[in-house]
Symmetry: C2
Subunit: 426 residues, 2 copies
């Protein structure tokens, strides 16, 4: 890896010189800090140009550096390529003097590298252990799908506590609301569960992407590991697509009703589609719960051509009668409208907690009828809504056995064996 | 009624004189104020003795006044008898000069009579209309079972607004928190939905027994009546015990599961047993709901030898798996205990909103199993708990057809046809 990167950096420097562009070529991320986890494939190279030049000049160098590439867009365009088994990002940015006055978020990265590189010497292995542990339990990565710890965050934690084990031990007293401020210069109020003030930018929370559940998961896993350390925390058994027999046995034990909405997802990057998968799940769960079809748990997955939303129901058949609460009785106009609604009333109106209530015939006694009728009018995320509306297939109960996609079976396997940390040793 | 009462009052006076007891004999309640609703059977006679004498001396007169009687106890003993078709209460009390310095609650009644009698002249019919309306819709009576409007309260409302119709019209702008203070001398903060300051005792709320739901019911019924007045508001069709065929049709339309707990109630007055019936319902509903057996509505009734608690369920069969939420993960000791519990885990532990959660085998998949096992350990009211624990019978679904008691069928009929006001005219 080092040789490969060294050649790339040298060539980028040559290209810049030959074109008269004053350009610092900086290796970013873990590769530059000796905290590069084997099995990772991401290499980030930053081309930093002075503020009076154009980023486009650096893009031109990126394009020449790797001829077979694609152009991608975050805040600004960058060059992405697969080369020598690595995922290579060549990112133009501005050389700035103060990271609290950025032109763009990527301008900050060279400062991170500089801050960590000078301090992490001798602690690289500790960072690697922490990253591997987090990756093993599933809390490593700040992309939205994971909502976990970024590489930079793990480095700062090791700098703060001194070692992998010290971080694990410290986490026993972590609570949501914890603030870690290595430079004692924090200057903003954050509401996230963990606040790690960026040493190079006092207003920024390095842990902004970390969700409460991944924060809690790390604390819990650390506790389990300290009681009974085991390599499975670092190297969990890989999930296998669920076989028919395993699926049948799981359904027989759980005796729930699993409903799957299968659809054709739009072709979008994970950081855009994943929040929409979450939103779609929340909308549908809320509809099902509101109508009395109690949801145990749900899941969502997109994989190539197919997307699936899964809902596991505790209740999937309801009686003919439904309670329909109206307004507080003293709101006369609302009461009038409520009483004038056209419907078959089985009982009432009677009063409950000051409100008029009627019991009426239930429209949806089964969740599939409900979803077929109402899925189209739900808010399922900006890009997912049109995809799902245009066509979806519902599977329920044993019907899900007919979904043969190995990606679906892998998703199911992960859904059923969901764990915050490895099982205790037998 | 007047002749009958007149004779009683005269004889009580004679008895007191003959025994040297200085005693005011006062007719209480509506009979004394000309606001006595035909069909009512309650006559209250107060024997008011000076504060330096004993209530027991008045009790002695009460006993002699009606030889065939029973002694009952509220704050103090009193004599109760059924005589000439009336329910007669002869109540000893103290003659006091200031009703805000009572020896006992009944000492206040003569003051109420005096206050109303002097002001209600010419408005007696308006009071009678208001009482009859409230009785017709089911909000008349301050006993705990009804939680409605007392007779004194209806009189004060007519004094405040001037007529039956004016009270109904005024109620269109009533809201919980309304304060009515005829003498503008209220001196205490009350939290009840309606506060009517007692004209003879500024600290007392005459409407203290009125529940939010009966308050709301009156407001709603008044609104319906003003739109479409009809005598059914005053004279509702009497409920009839539900016949087999009607019960079958109701169950077929609702398709719910009705569970009935039948027990032998203790022999106690309604004002003691009714709150316990409510408490028992609340405890059992909460258990059922907590275990996932969603309750649509419940009811309770005691009638002679038998008591029934009724629960109408939307859900009465649940899957094998159950979600079992644990402590927040950062509470390490609690987490340890939670993880060490002995049980078969189907999924998890995983994290939800910072908490460890496991999915385990459900113990109670049907509500009857749950109730048979757990009813005995619930808090069902001080006197009801031992009664129900000592023996109960569970009926569910079609089994309730086998309960032949006409009292039960009447209770069922009222449960199914529960209405806050009469149905609109066809």
């Amino acid at each position: 890896m080092e040789r490969f990167v060294g050649e790339l950096l040298a060539r980028a420097g040559e290209l810049a010189r030959s074109q008269g562009l004053p350009c610092q070529v900086v290796l970013g991320g873990s590769a530059a800090r000796g905290t590069w986890l084997a099995g990772d494939h991401d290499i980030d190279i930053f081309l930093c140009v002075p503020e009076h030049r154009e980023l486009e000049e650096a893009m031109a160098i990126g394009r020449q550096l790797v001829l077979e590439h694609e152009e991608r867009y975050a805040e600004h365009p960058y060059v992405h390529a697969s080369l020598g088994g690595f995922d290579l990002d060549i990112v133009p940015c501005f050389s700035i003097s103060d990271p609290s006055h950025l032109r763009s978020a990527v301008d900050r990265t060279p400062f991170h590298t500089r801050y960590v590189a000078g301090r992490i010497r001798g602690l690289e292995d500790q960072v690697l252990l922490l990253k591997a542990f987090m990756k093993g339990i599933g809390v490593y990565g700040s992309e939205l799908r994971t909502g976990g710890f970024s590489g930079y965050l793990t480095e700062l934690l090791v700098l703060k506590y001194g070692s992998f084990e010290a971080v694990l031990e410290a986490s026993a007293s972590w609570r949501p609301g914890l603030v870690i401020d290595l430079e004692n210069h924090g200057s903003a109020i954050h509401t996230q569960p963990l606040v790690v003030v960026d040493p190079v930018d006092p207003r920024r929370n390095v842990a902004a992407a970390l969700t409460l559940d991944r924060f809690a998961q790390f604390i819990g896993a650390a506790r389990q590991f300290m009681v009974a350390p085991h390599e499975r925390f670092f190297f969990p058994a890989p999930a296998e697509p669920l076989k028919d027999g395993e699926l049948v046995r799981a359904l027989q034990a759980r005796k729930t009703m699993i409903i799957v909405v299968e659809f054709r997802p739009p072709d979008l990057v994970e950081d855009i589609i994943y929040p929409q998968l979450q939103k779609a799940q929340a909308s549908i769960r809320s509809l099902l719960d509101r109508e009395g079809f109690s949801v145990l748990r749900s899941g969502g997955n997109v994989s190539g051509q197919w997307g699936w939303l899964l809902f596991e129901l505790l209740v999937w058949e309801l009686p003919g009668v439904k309670k329909h609460p109206g307004p507080p009785v003293w709101e006369g106009q609302h009461l009038d409208s409520f009483l004038q609604e056209d419907r078959l009333i089985l009982s009432g109106p009677y009063i409950e907690e000051g409100r008029a209530v009627v019991e009426v015939l239930r429209k949806y006694r089964r969740p599939d009828d409900l979803l077929r009728d109402r899925l189209g009018s739900l808010s399922l995320g900006h890009h997912l809504s049109p995809s799902i509306r245009s066509s979806f297939v519902l599977y329920q109960g044993w019907e899900i056995l007919s979904i043969q996609s190995q990606d679906f079976r892998l998703f199911l396997s992960r859904y059923l064996s969901l764990r915050a940390w490895p099982a205790a040793q037998d």
